[in-house]
């Protein structure tokens, strides 16, 4: 039996080590560079601590009980084969998890409303809108404000809220930049809103997080956060030097296959909305009709209103 305890201790140390070493810069989730990711990191640590209140005593108790009451002839500890109930004890261990879960539930509800992804970030600066479209198997980014477009590459100015609008052409995907904050699903026929912001300059890892088929693993991209001036000059540079994305070019881009980073100085007007609405024909279902009635695109935002919407036609009430 000693073997077992000897095994358990290093195990826990190993686990702790893994968790603690999480401060290293490879642990994106624990090393956020933006306000959303920062709050999520705090929340994760609060959860860990609350859970540890139960976890640690239970592990210690298990080791002690298993050791103390092992079946040995000279074991002098108590043996009560018919002791099967104690109202006092059972009340205690119904109460402990209830209290902890109640606390955690309160915290969770508060954070759920605070971190609702479609809620605009507080900032003196106007948010920049970037539209992300999941194609088979690459990400197309369109910048409606700047009129440029990229594939598998995003550049953003630091300290500026970014309003990502996310959709998918085909299979469902999920849009995730771990160091900036949590992900949101990319779904065809819907435009999801996700506010993120980078607090510093740097290059961050971005990825698709929901399986989309054969070359799903190729759907990673870099997010480069730069100073506002660098961002502006990058936009100008793309505008002056890159080719334009045409309708035919987009059709080609849609074909299944992976892609390197690409840059375009222009893209067809309303491309993102066209992708969102492509399946809403005359026989479209109610969900799509909602979208048609309320403007070019239905934002799937779950109840919270997007007050900073730059397009006046956009309707952001809860679609369900």
């Amino acid at each position: 039996m000693r073997k077992y305890i000897r095994f358990l201790v290093p195990l826990m140390i190993m686990l702790m080590a893994v968790m603690l070493s999480g401060c290293g810069d490879q642990y994106f989730v624990l090393d956020p560079k933006g306000p959303i990711g920062e709050s999520q990191k705090d929340l994760i640590w609060i959860t860990v601590l609350l859970c540890a209140i139960i976890l640690v005593p239970v592990l210690i108790l298990t080791a002690i009980i298993v050791w103390r009451y092992r079946d040995k002839k000279d074991n002098k500890s108590a043996y009560q084969p018919n002791w099967e109930h104690s109202t006092k004890l059972e009340t205690i261990w119904w109460a402990i998890p209830i209290i902890i879960i109640a606390i955690l539930a309160g915290i969770t509800i508060k954070y759920t409303y605070d971190l609702e992804p479609s809620k605009p970030l507080e900032s003196a600066k106007q948010p920049i809108t970037i539209e992300a479209t999941s194609l088979d198997w690459k990400w197309l980014f369109t910048y409606p404000d700047e009129g440029i477009s990229t594939v598998n590459y995003v550049q953003i100015p630091e300290d500026t809220p970014i309003r990502f609008r996310v959709t998918a052409d085909q299979a469902m995907n999920s849009f995730w930049i771990p160091q900036l904050g949590g992900q949101i699903y990319a779904m065809s026929g819907m435009a999801m809103t996700l506010y993120l912001q980078a607090d510093e300059v740097g290059t961050f890892f971005g990825t698709g997080a929901n399986f989309t088929g054969e070359q799903f693993a190729k759907m990673t991209f870099d997010v480069k956060s730069t100073s506002e001036a660098d961002y502006k000059s990058w936009v100008d540079n793309v505008k002056s030097s890159a080719p334009a994305l045409t309708d035919e070019g987009f059709e080609q881009l849609k074909q299944p296959g992976s892609s390197d980073e690409q840059f375009f100085s222009a893209f067809p007007e309303g491309l993102f909305d066209k992708v969102v609405l492509q399946y809403a024909g005359p026989n479209g279902a109610a969900a799509h009709e909602h979208g048609l009635k309320s403007g070019p695109v239905k934002d799937e935002e779950g109840g919270s209103h997007d007050t900073s919407s730059t397009e006046g036609t956009e309707h952001s009430s809860h679609a369900n």
Binding site: V18, F28, E90, I101, Q170, G189, A209, F211, G281
Partner: protein
């Protein structure tokens, strides 16, 4: 004509051009030939038919479930090792993307539906009637049908590996990827029909065990005197009854989409893929509780047996089981907090998910206090139980972390999630069913499994588990998402992936030790004669010989306590005279039937036809199913009585054997 046929066979029917699959085809072919030759040579065909294929005996059906589940564990395990090998080295060309996607899909489906479920039904079958003092389940014929539907469903799914192509849209097959637009191949149809056919069997089993437990208990056994495993089976079966119809309907709608061009979940024509995702998780979440609840039952029985002490907090345990199965239906949306349902929905489902932690936590405390002031012996079942507690508590904790909706936006679909559910499914379900198998093995077969080899297997599995899955939590926090078939070297994911792969192979080694253990124990078979194999049995199954005679109990026992056999032994030790034995009476038993087997074959034929859109196969298959239903309806010769003198002879032989 012949050339066309050959073209079809080589290009469309059989999967060709992949050495791994060719190897599988050859080995499947060779082992089939070997089995046929062996059966013919030893003249065992009749034996196979009368003793096994047509049996309605719950003990034999249980054994067949266990064998099938262990075979599937092997297949699913090989899938797992292939996945881990591919991920050990960045940008490895071991499996190409399509193949990798097929393998993680089949790994998931097989492990949950064709490994965990049949292993669970195997334990249900072997144990429940014996624990409640019954002679069989309520519907023995239906029970046999359930098994064969599961078996042929599983075979239909597995055959896609070598014929037609494996499904590759993930184990829950989210549309639009699983629709014709995303998966034009046949794999997805094999997926639908394999799961549909076995799903009917699962639903029937769920109903069967609810009725068995409610109606077939021995005289005197009140509900609150049932052994805890039986309670867990009841809660799990009730959950099956409510959850499996959802699965059947969901997959049927997907089938109509694919087969008849409907638009339930398609992109165009007004379809809505989100509907599928809601529906599939309304089944999928209860499903994981369906498999974990019986494991809780096993742990409860094992922990009290090997602590030589009554189970602590019986009423709390029952309440916890039932509340888990109730709440399991109100948590499904936590699988897609990131789908933009809004804060109201997310907050609701986050809280309902956390609620589950409360009864589960209480159960852990009750297990601990069953051991407290007991006398713990470290038999093989008990080892798995003790290993389960820390493993499951950590897995439960990460589950609570995932349930915190805003934090889940960072965990979702990452390896953190993968590590979590493997920790609760291996640490909980697999450890639990292993504990149950070791515990009831002597009851099934009349001999114990070798101790030393079992301990090797135990340590290999345990060490392998932590080495494999702890790094995956870290990988999740490093941004590695699930279902990546490759990654770049500069991500820094490689070291932990290598560690994880090593762990997976250690677990594989553990499995080999278990196979060796079984073979070794059969070769050096030591007959276990007492019936109460562990010497500490508490419930009714230990009061009868091992393996139990076909009628289980010559006389139905009178029950007054939840630990009836333990109390009986106490009474005998105190010299209380046992009650005089009632005279034997003829025992009413169900007759064997070949119809379930034949009907399931017909289902298989029809399913295979549906996959290939071959009406010439679908129609005869369905007609066959219909004929079997009719034949059964007009079959009045379904039962018989075992005469008293035969019971006497059997009992005498069993006593003589002791």
């Amino acid at each position: 004509m012949f050339k066309d046929l050959m073209d079809f066979l080589m290009n469309d029917f059989f999967i060709t051009g992949d050495p791994l699959i060719l190897g599988a085809q050859v080995s499947i072919g060779l082992s089939t030939v070997a089995i046929v030759i062996a059966l013919t040579y030893f003249k065992k065909w009749r034996w196979l038919w009368t003793e096994w294929l047509t049996t309605v005996d719950h003990k034999k059906i249980g054994i067949m479930y266990v064998i099938a589940a262990l075979l599937m564990l092997f297949r699913g395990g090989v899938d797992a090792l292939l996945i881990r090998t591919q991920l050990a080295v960045p940008n490895l060309e071991f499996l190409h993307a399509g193949h990798y996607n097929a393998i993680f899909t089949t790994h998931g489906v097989i492990m949950i539906l064709f490994m965990a479920m049949p292993l669970m039904f195997g334990l249900f079958n072997i144990v429940v009637p014996l624990q409640i003092g019954a002679r069989d389940v309520a519907y023995p014929y239906l029970n046999s049908l359930s098994f064969w539907l599961f078996f042929f469903g599983a075979m239909l799914f597995n055959v896609s590996f070598v014929i037609g192509g494996s499904p590759d849209a993930g184990w829950l097959a989210y549309p639009p990827l699983s629709e014709l637009s995303g998966s034009p191949g046949l794999g997805q149809d094999f997926y639908i029909w394999g799961i549909q056919i076995s799903g009917i069997g699962s639903l029937a089993s769920g109903i069967n065990f609810v009725v068995t437990i409610l109606k077939m208990r021995a005289p005197g056994m009140k509900l609150m005197q049932m052994p805890m495993f039986t309670w867990s089976v009841l809660s799990s079966s009730i959950t099956i009854m409510f959850a499996f119809p959802i699965l059947t309907v969901t997959l049927f709608l997907l089938f109509i989409d694919r087969y008849l061009g409907a638009h339930f979940f398609t992109l165009d024509g007004g379809g809505n893929p989100m509907m599928y995702i809601n529906l599939i998780w309304m089944w999928g979440h209860p499903e994981v509780y369906i498999v974990i609840l019986p494991a809780f039952g096993v742990f409860s029985d094992v922990v009290s047996t090997f602590s030589k002490k009554k189970l602590f907090g019986y009423k709390s345990m029952v309440f916890a089981l039932m509340s888990i199965s109730f709440f399991s239906f109100f948590t499904w949306a936590h699988h897609f907090f990131t789908m933009g349902s809004g804060a109201n929905v997310n907050a609701f489902f986050a809280v309902t998910t956390m609620l589950i932690a409360i009864p589960t936590g209480v159960k852990v405390f009750n297990w601990l206090f069953t051991m407290f002031r007991g006398r713990i012996t470290f038999s093989q079942p008990m080892l798995w139980t003790i290993a389960f507690i820390p493993c499951f508590v950590v897995g439960g904790m990460t589950g609570v972390m995932l349930s915190v909706a805003p934090a889940d936006f960072q965990f979702h679909n990452s390896y953190f999630l993968i590590a979590h559910f493997h920790q609760v499914l291996i640490g909980g379900v697999v450890f639990g069913y292993f504990a149950g198998l070791y515990y009831w093995w002597p009851k099934m077969f009349g001999f114990k499994l070798h101790d030393g080899l079992g301990k090797w297997a135990f340590w290999l599995w345990n060490i392998g588990f932590y080495v494999c899955f702890m790094p995956q939590y870290a990988l999740g926090l490093m941004g590695m998402t699930r279902r990546f078939n490759e990654y770049n070297f500069d991500m820094g994911w490689q070291p932990l992936n290598v560690v994880s792969t090593v762990g997976a192979f250690i677990m594989g080694l553990g499995f080999i030790f278990q196979v060796w253990q079984i073979a070794h124990s059969i070769k050096f078979l030591k007959k276990e004669k007492s019936g109460d194999a562990w010497g500490e049995g508490r419930t009714l199954e230990w009061s009868i010989p091992s393996p139990a005679p076909m009628y289980n109990f010559a006389r139905l026992p009178e029950v007054t306590s939840s630990d009836e056999w333990w109390e009986e032994k106490q009474r005998r030790a105190q010299g209380v005279k046992p009650k005089p034995l009632a005279p034997l009476e003829p025992i009413h038993m169900p007759k064997n039937s070949g119809i379930p087997f034949i009907m399931s074959v017909c289902f298989f034929v029809a399913g295979f036809g549906f996959v290939w859109h071959w009406n010439w196969m679908i129609i005869p298959g369905l007609i066959g199913v219909g004929c079997c239903l009719l034949a059964r309806s007009f079959d009045y010769d379904t039962d018989f009585y075992i005469p008293v003198d035969e019971i006497e002879r059997t009992e005498a032989a069993l006593k003589g054997g002791r």
